[in-house]
């Protein structure tokens, strides 16, 4: 069966309308307008026949919240709609989403290609923990597409990049990477956490799967861990024999072939019915609710995040005690042209800089801040500051740290929604005190 996007003829609603309404009609029994928090594990069957149909995946409905939950489902449809995908699968964290995405594609002994400039936690998950499943990550510098072509092997099942990489303002050339993936008959997976679908929609550039840490900008207030895998519905899982999990007989469902039976809904059905069922990395309904609230204001927040970040970056670039700034919003960035193509509304809120005086001066800047919180997260309404080499990127070798833009003198900022002048004043006093 060839993949098929749902071809509704209705007018396509705008991004802001969908960030508030997609997936959430008024609750039909009570009329409740805001999405109820279904703090509930299990769902009553009408009768034995209904139960059997649900377990056979022959009808839509809820069985047990490890697989699906009505509150989580609203968030799944919301994110899928914002990314213009076919379906979404939410799970406990961004790392759970990455595991869930690969779980459907990989067999022991398979490999995949990943950018060597990923978020440090992803490099560790792929390079160390995935090894235990005999999944082999090959890290390459994807800035030159030829490196990706050279790294392709017959056992390679996917290409994984970040649209905008954490921490250093690195932008991936999604169009070029997607054409390499298409030629190889494998999906392009894009971590769109830092950009969010407001700034970049990877599926429009040919990505097949999009993963999110919803912990960051989508929830937006630093309240809730969460992740999501969005399937574009565009990938033909039967074009070769690389994906038996999706296009072959599934032993856990008596030989059911997911792609033949569910067509462009195969990946999302598989991610719930097998992925979440057996990996168990379910999103909690309360976290889904918090993240639904976050999505409602995404566009407004991202505009201010980006504006504040660009102005802070400009301030730092002109500061006499600052050695360098790496932010794709600045014309000085080697990724500025790619940012204008893929992130025309703004280059995100996370970037890095270094102060003169290296590691010692850098740690003093972090400690001197009053308004910036020293913690390991991004995408909060609050401004955040961190020294990646000693924290988020600590598990990496120095060479990997350098490649990931997290060398010893690097400071990472996640710019929040506070008054711009206060943020600039705080950094100014912290840098000045540190350089004394």
């Amino acid at each position: 069966m060839s993949p098929k996007q749902d071809k509704a003829a209705e007018p396509k609603f705008g991004f802001e309308t969908r960030m508030i309404h997609a997936g959430a009609q008024p609750e039909p029994v009570t009329g409740a307008r805001q999405t109820p928090i279904h703090q509930n594990t299990s769902y009553v069957f009408h009768d034995a026949e209904h139960a059997a149909s649900l377990f056979n995946l022959q009808t839509f409905g809820f069985i047990y919240s490890r697989l699906t939950n009505p509150t989580v489902a609203v968030l799944e449809e919301r994110i899928a709609s914002l990314e213009d995908g076919r379906g979404g699968t939410c799970c406990a964290s961004g790392h759970a989403a990455q595991l869930l995405a690969f779980f459907a594609l990989m067999e022991p002994g398979d490999s995949f290609i990943a950018s060597n400039r990923l978020y440090g936690g992803s490099i560790t998950q792929f390079g160390k923990t995935f090894k235990k499943f005999d999944w082999r990550a090959k890290f390459v510098d994807v800035d030159d597409p030829q490196n990706v072509r050279d790294a392709l092997t017959p056992d390679c099942k996917a290409i994984f990049v970040e649209s905008l990489a954490n921490p250093g303002g690195v932008v991936s050339d999604l169009e070029a990477l997607s054409s390499i993936a298409k030629d190889a008959g494998i999906p392009l997976i894009v971590d769109n956490t830092m950009a969010t679908p407001y700034l970049c929609r990877p599926i429009e550039w040919g990505a097949d799967l999009v993963v999110h840490s919803t912990t960051k900008f989508l929830s937006g207030n630093g309240t809730s861990l969460g992740g999501c895998v969005v399937d574009s519905g565009n990938f033909d899982w039967a074009q070769n024999d690389k994906f038996p999990g999706l296009a072959g007989p599934e032993p856990a469902y008596h030989g059911l072939n997911f792609y033949e039976t569910f067509g462009d809904m195969a990946f999302t059905t598989h991610a719930h019915a097998i992925g979440l069922r057996d990996l168990g990395s379910t999103m909690a309904p309360m976290n889904a609710f918090q993240t639904i609230l976050g999505c409602e204001t995404l566009a407004l927040r991202m505009e201010r995040h980006c504006e504040n970040a660009r102005k802070v970056a400009e301030f730092l670039e002109a500061h006499p005690a600052v050695a360098w700034v790496s932010c794709a919003a600045l014309p000085s960035s080697p990724y500025h042209a790619l940012a204008q193509k893929y992130l025309p509304k703004g280059a995100g809120a996370v970037f890095t800089f270094g102060v003169k005086g290296g590691y010692e001066a850098g740690t003093r800047v972090v400690e001197n801040c009053e308004i910036f919180s020293h913690l390991a997260n991004i995408g909060d309404a609050r401004s955040l500051i961190l020294h990646p080499a000693s924290t988020t990127h600590r598990q990496l070798s120095e060479e990997q740290q350098q490649a990931a833009g997290a060398g010893p003198d690097v400071i990472r900022l996640s710019i929040g929604l506070e008054t711009l002048e206060d943020l600039i004043a705080d950094l100014d006093q912290a840098i000045t005190a540190a350089s004394r």
């Binding site: 509704a8 039909p28 022959q58 995908g85």
Partner: protein, 170 residues
């Protein structure tokens, strides 16, 4: 009627009206195997209150979901509102012609061709004969999508509404 029907995109209202007006569906290419796509669709539609009438010469005489399996559309003794085609695009042409020939006798109103099945010439003949045609879609997916059930699985239904749906006794 003004202009040709656009078979690349059907409005939600078109699909909703059709699915709401139909009560019985002859399913051509109906499989008796529980894990085949046609079985999934029949089971779902039957559960939603549609009468399904399976057609499959290779399973003739058997029962699927409690309904007798017929050799052909012509063999079905009762009237039926819609034909749902689980055969390839070429065979769908012959099935359409059979339905056109039977349309007055059996009161047939519509022909539905499943995902990936599309035969524009057959559709034009059916429409000229007064039948409504939907192609390259699945009635289970569309019913589920328009009634919020598809959303339960995390799918993008593209339906946005602030209206409160009526819940009826049933």
């Amino acid at each position: 009627m003004s202009g040709k029907i656009d078979h690349d995109s059907y409005s939600d209202a078109t699909l909703r009206n059709l699915l709401n007006s139909v009560k019985s569906v002859a399913v051509v290419g109906a499989s008796p195997n529980w894990n085949r796509p046609s079985y999934f669709v029949m089971k779902y539609l039957q559960d939603k209150g549609y009468r399904i009438l399976p057609v499959n010469p290779r399973a003739a005489g058997e029962e699927i979901l409690g309904e007798k399996v017929y050799v052909s559309l012509a063999e079905i003794p009762d009237s039926f509102d819609m034909v749902d085609v689980f055969r390839n695009s070429e065979v769908a042409g012959a099935v359409t012609d059979e339905a056109i020939a039977l349309k007055d006798e059996r009161d047939i109103k519509a022909i539905w061709m499943q995902l990936t099945v599309r035969n524009d010439a057959a559709a034009a003949r059916a429409e000229a004969a007064g039948l409504q045609v939907v192609m390259d879609r699945c009635p289970k997916i569309e019913f589920g999508r328009l009634n919020s059930e598809l959303s339960w699985g995390g799918f993008n239904s593209k339906v946005i509404s602030a209206k409160r749906r009526k819940v009826r006794i049933g």
